[in-house]
Subunit: 425 residues, 2 copies
């Protein structure tokens, strides 16, 4: 197999040497952002679409939170250290990344729990239109959430899962809400948020977008697209740490008409009244439920603060540049047989992720990880590589392809150890 | 007012001097546990029923998690650092504190979200019996959760809130589930879990207990009481940190027949299958939903590990001793007018908390906090003091009462600044 590859030393035409990629890094206006992340020496980390790396500032912030705020301030820190306002304060910072306004985003719970809240509210608001419309390739956990709501509500909710191409045509007058994930977690394909939101509105439906694979990676313009509802994850491109709290967005125009059925004390108009009737807070805070995890919230806020001052247009441009050059290198250097690039070639339709399929993708990825090139694998045969604009270098692109070529040439992936499936893959 | 008090120096009869309380600390077999907590010098912390203090081991554990597991291990730590098993691993440790078996408790989400899951499952299992029966003095957020479910399900769920004394009589054949909080957060009164669970079962209903104010403070014997379902909080007597993840318990005999309507990828039988249909995991893990906050989870686990080797009977005995001596001192030293001890005098009916009412309770508590005696206030007039067995000293009991006496004698609480309500009180 290796013998079909061109000699690497001869590939210095165009941008086909590592030095060319070093040059791209030198010209990268966002290159200084990488120093804000602790990335292990020698590791090519291309899995920020699954778990973003540790910001350098996070351990210090957590020590401060633990020793000063919790350890010394104790219960008083709910006021004095601003814990009580963290869900809206961090929400407002995320709003700036996704084209939302102040007061439209809160951080709390998980993406799945937040999606449940918004779907339940949307189905209730559009009473008589029971359908949650979505597509087969949507993120599985989002399908599970909608399926759970359907099972709970019986005839009042119907989950309708159709092929991607059928979505616009199936926006009938029975649809309460169109539920889509902005960037496909398998292929990296980006939906046309503006067009699909418009189509949903034309049909009298609301729309809820899952931004888990787009916020922090590609442009998101919730207001520009007139989006009703959205949810998203804190631990992928937002670098909030494993299981970081998630966020939800509700357009200001809808906030007072949506019911928070997951009603908890933090979403009460006056949480410390301790009355027996839930009076939902005005604004998006009504979608808080129980007490959010403050340690994990602080780690997320520290990570979000790294975006302050970042030129977002430059960030999205860099993401596209990284994925485009990865695809170019793959096309010029990968052996022909077995591999297929499943991500869109058109960079405007692509998230910050490139997925390639191979029948032995699982074993190949295991071999890459053992070479410290970290992507991940999704069944049945997808190897995924994420390119986050704040810390991924152009040389990482080169090194990833170089290692992939070597893994195939040396047939490392055939080692018996790689046949065993890990729990988390 | 002060003139009606006996002279403090003369009160050395019985256990009425600080030296007597120092002696109790010297005889306390659990006194060494206090060194495992970072309690600020000079602070009398009696608010562990709202937020437990920082374990000394937590900052080091979090640094290890941040720098080694997240920073260096990155995505690999889901396997290699055991993040994926944390909800059940920590759950099993909590099970040992509440009389449950291995495989019956998971840690995830908030108490409110977990309660929603279990109520929805219970109402569904007992189809045709729509009532969630509870009592007026139940924890407000629990009432909000049940009210939210009622609002979502319409006629299929009816929240029935009755006076405490009426609960047994209202267990009719329309009741799906009896929902109670084990220890009353206002008065500290403990329900008879065995008797009420038995009464619910006799009526064909399930029972869900909220253990937030009991686990880690008083005996809880879920198996001994044949309890069906329970939820509880990680940040009060379990010392997991602000907003620590909560836990839920499902008796093994019920696990396979209860539906997880908040269905997410972590509760799937094979989360990494990424299939489009949710197949609930066997066992209690099916009640996981989204990804839990691993940083907050690690802090909780570190705190739970402090219970290893603790003689639980001794801990509950110490709690009772602390609250009993606090009540004795209050009765002998507090001025007559204005104060009322609202917690039960019978220590078997009392949690690890003593509440006293006073029309000016809010201002008096503010004055106490300014003297570094930290309890809290609950409307309309309750001052609450929590006595956690692992770190509260008998001299704390003395010092709290001494400061309360001085606040009343010196009329400190009348200062204008104490009239202002803080956001969190």
């Amino acid at each position: 197999m290796g013998s079909t590859l061109p000699n690497i030393a001869e590939m210095s035409n165009g941008r086909h040497s590592r030095r060319d990629y070093e040059r791209l890094d030198r010209d990268d206006g966002l290159a200084p952002c990488r120093q804000h992340f602790q990335l292990p020496e020698g590791v090519v980390y291309l899995d920020g679409n699954s778990l973003g790396p540790l910001p350098v500032s996070t351990p210090g912030r957590l020590q401060q939170l633990l020793l000063e705020e919790w350890g010394t301030g104790l219960i008083r820190s709910w006021n004095e250290a601003g814990w009580i306002d963290a869900p809206t304060r961090v929400g407002d910072k995320i709003a700036a990344l996704v084209g939302a306004a102040t007061g439209e985003v809160v951080v709390t719970d998980s993406t799945s729990v937040n999606l449940f809240k918004l779907l339940a509210a949307a189905v209730s608001l559009r009473g008589g239109r029971p359908v949650v419309l979505t597509e087969v390739p949507n993120f599985p956990s989002d399908l599970y959430v909608a399926g759970g709501l359907e099972a709970l509500l019986g005839a009042r909710c119907e989950l309708r899962v159709v092929e991607r191409s059928e979505v616009p045509a199936r926006l009938g007058d029975d649809v309460a809400v169109l539920m889509l994930t902005h960037v496909d977690f398998r292929t990296g394909e980006v939906h046309d948020m503006a067009a699909l939101t418009h189509a949903a509105h034309e049909a009298g439906a609301l729309v809820v977008w899952d931004l888990s694979h787009s916020a922090g990676a590609v442009p998101v313009d919730l207001h520009g697209c007139d989006v009703d509802l959205a949810v998203g994850c804190g631990y992928k491109y937002l670098n909030g740490g494993p299981g970081a709290p998630a966020y939800l967005y509700v357009a200001e125009r809808l906030q007072s008409s949506l019911t928070p059925f997951l009603a908890g004390w933090m979403g009460h108009e006056d949480p410390f009244e301790f009355g027996n009737r839930h009076r939902p807070a005005g604004g998006v805070r009504r979608f808080l439920c129980g007490t959010p995890p403050i340690l994990s919230m602080a780690a997320l806020e520290t990570a979000i603060d790294l975006w302050a001052g970042v030129d977002l247009d430059l960030a999205w441009e860099k993401s596209r540049g990284l994925t485009s050059s990865f695809i170019e290198l793959l096309e010029s250097r990968l052996p022909r047989g077995g591999f297929e690039i499943v991500s869109p070639r058109d960079s405007a339709s692509r998230g910050a992720q490139v997925s390639i399929s191979h029948p032995e993708g699982y074993r190949i990825m295991r071999a890459l990880v053992d070479r410290s090139v970290i992507g991940d694998f999704r069944p049945p045969d997808l190897m995924r590589f994420g390119f986050a604009p704040l810390y991924t270098r152009f040389v990482d692109v080169w090194d990833a392809v170089q290692n992939l070529v070597e893994v195939m040439e040396g047939e490392e992936w055939t080692r018996p150890a790689y046949a065993t499936r890990l729990t988390v893959t």
